[in-house]
Amino acid sequence: MDADLIGKMKSFKSFHLLENYLSNFKTLHFNCHKAPASALRQPFKFISSSSLVKKNEVGPLKGFLASHSTNSLPQVEKCTLRAVSHSSVSGPSFSFRSVATMPDSQASTVQESSTANPGVTPRIKFKRLDKTAKHIMQILDKEAVEKVKAEREIPDIKPGYIIQLKVEVPENKRRVSQMKGIVIARRNAGLNTTFRLRRLVAGVGIESVFPLYSPNIKEIKVLDRKKVKKAKLYYLRDQMTDALKK
């Protein structure tokens, strides 16, 4: 089986074909480990001697992105050496680094041979980590918001809207309290987006801030859309009685 495989690999004219073949051939390294060391080295020799190696695009972020993109076939095509070395990963939609323990001996081997030979150096993107970190946080935040939006419908709340809320208060034995008021401000911050609700309780103006995507908000109903000219309606604090006569 192994000799057969290696023969097949040699018969590939271009490296491109080879890597396509490898990405299809999931069980490559399970077979490889049974082969004698000399036979095992051959495919890698072949790889390193090939000058047709394309640039490996697995930067620190690319790998991260690819792990959650649903269909990343072009990504896989771009990964040459890495994809080969991480063959245990084996899914075509997957090119994340640092996953499996198993093929690492081979991964390091390939990497090392490539560092020895400048022609085959895999493309490593050396980026500022703070930017990478920021990007990760942005992705996580976006996903979290999308997840909440998929679970329950959240109307687009803007300043000037008069809304009715049903809020569960865990601290108060999980009672659901209902409140009605005017949105006087909205603070956009991804998952931590909040809005400020102003209402009258026993003749006294009360402002409360709610996270828009909180699971404790059970229902938001927009009753009225007042036309306002400002983003923050703090002037309502001074003319409370007029604006909130409902």
């Binding site: 399970f30 990963v89 680094r97 996953v99 323990t101 081997t109 020895a116 970190a133 990760i136």
Partner: protein, 329 residues
């Protein structure tokens, strides 16, 4: 030349070990010897049993930033996101050779042009890919791992506690109130100009000097600090992210070092007259805060080659079935 040949040998060695075998060779000085294969006969498949004094390796993570999540009871949890980027064992230190049992872990990746020649030589001699950050974690002998073992985020289990070490943000030259938490002076009652001063720094003639170590204004931050007993809320194996509760030192994009929350306590009465250093590691007790030891993967988590890591679901800590907000009967 010699460096190259060593690299070659280690390459052979790595190849000779089949990808499915975890060979815990004797980590002797002749790590690069070719006849290691026979040594590797004592092959263990994966995990071992963790003893009370066992200490696992830590990981190098990148602090990504903070966010907040709601748990299933609707309580908001402040979260720091840590990214365990491509961690592998880059060197094994043994008693015979280095006089310490420790694992050097490398994280990230780097180009050759960013490294000095000695650093290159180290990576080549070990036969590991070039790493951005290296850090040594002392471990007990039973927690040693072979060079090249990759350590994923599943090394940690949601619900456990970790210690996170990092370099705090530099805050520049700060006064005594911010730097040491001094109270300052009253705002009124005749106090003039000296509202944020540190006040007296000592006595009179008797010592006639300011004692060394007096807390005074000066440079603040930019120092290593450890936050202990940080609760792991969530672990995302697909992306190698871990979500821990609360703050960890450092700015976004800084490296932090995460290890099991534990401290060593020598049994007091038995070793009363001995120095702490003289007590062997086995005699010291490892204390893990509020967490079942047997749940930790030991020495680390080995991912199965048959599972597709892109399909792994995030693991969330079990926070119990009793509603924390409902009053207990």
């Amino acid at each position: 030349m010699s460096a190259a040949s060593r690299g070659l040998i280690s390459r052979f060695r790595l190849l000779s070990i089949g990808p499915r075998t975890y060979s815990f060779r004797s980590f002797s000085a002749e790590v690069a010897a070719l006849d290691d294969e026979s040594d590797g006969a004592a092959v263990e498949e994966g995990s071992r049993v963790m003893k009370p004094f066992s200490r696992r390796t830590g990981v190098i993570a990148v602090k990504c930033g903070m966010t907040a999540l709601w748990d299933k009871w609707g309580a908001r949890i402040p979260i720091s996101v840590l990214w365990v980027d491509d961690n592998i064992v880059s060197q094994v230190k043994t008693m015979e050779k280095e006089g310490i049992t420790a694992l050097q872990i490398g994280a990230g990746q780097k180009k050759e042009k960013h490294l000095t020649k000695p650093e290159m030589g180290h990576f080549r001699a070990q036969g590991v890919p070039l790493k951005r950050k290296l850090r040594e974690f002392p471990v007990t002998e039973d927690a040693l791992l072979p060079v090249g073992t990759s350590i994923t985020v599943r090394h940690f289990v949601p619900g456990q506690y970790v210690d996170v070490t990092g370099i705090t943000r530099g805050k520049g030259f700060q006064g005594g109130m911010k730097r040491w938490g001094f109270k300052g002076m009253p705002a009124s009652h005749g106090v003039s100009i000296t509202h944020r001063h540190i006040g007296s720094t000592g006595q009179r003639d008797a010592p006639g000097k300011v004692f060394k170590g007096k807390k005074m204004p000066g440079r603040m931050g930019g120092k290593q600090s450890t936050v202990k007993n940080v609760w792991v809320y969530k672990v995302d194996p697909q992306r190698n992210l871990m979500y821990v509760k609360g703050q960890v030192p450092g700015a976004e994009g800084n490296f932090v070092f995460v290890k099991d929350a534990a401290y060593m306590v020598p049994s007091r009465d038995k070793y009363k007259n001995k120095k702490y250093e003289d007590i062997s590691l086995e005699k010291k007790l490892m204390v893990y805060k509020k967490f079942d030891l047997s749940l930790l993967p030991f020495p680390t988590h080995f991912s199965s080659p048959y599972e597709d890591p892109s399909l792994l679901e995030p693991l969330v800590a079990d926070i119990g079935e009793t509603d924390p907000f409902m009053p207990a009967d």
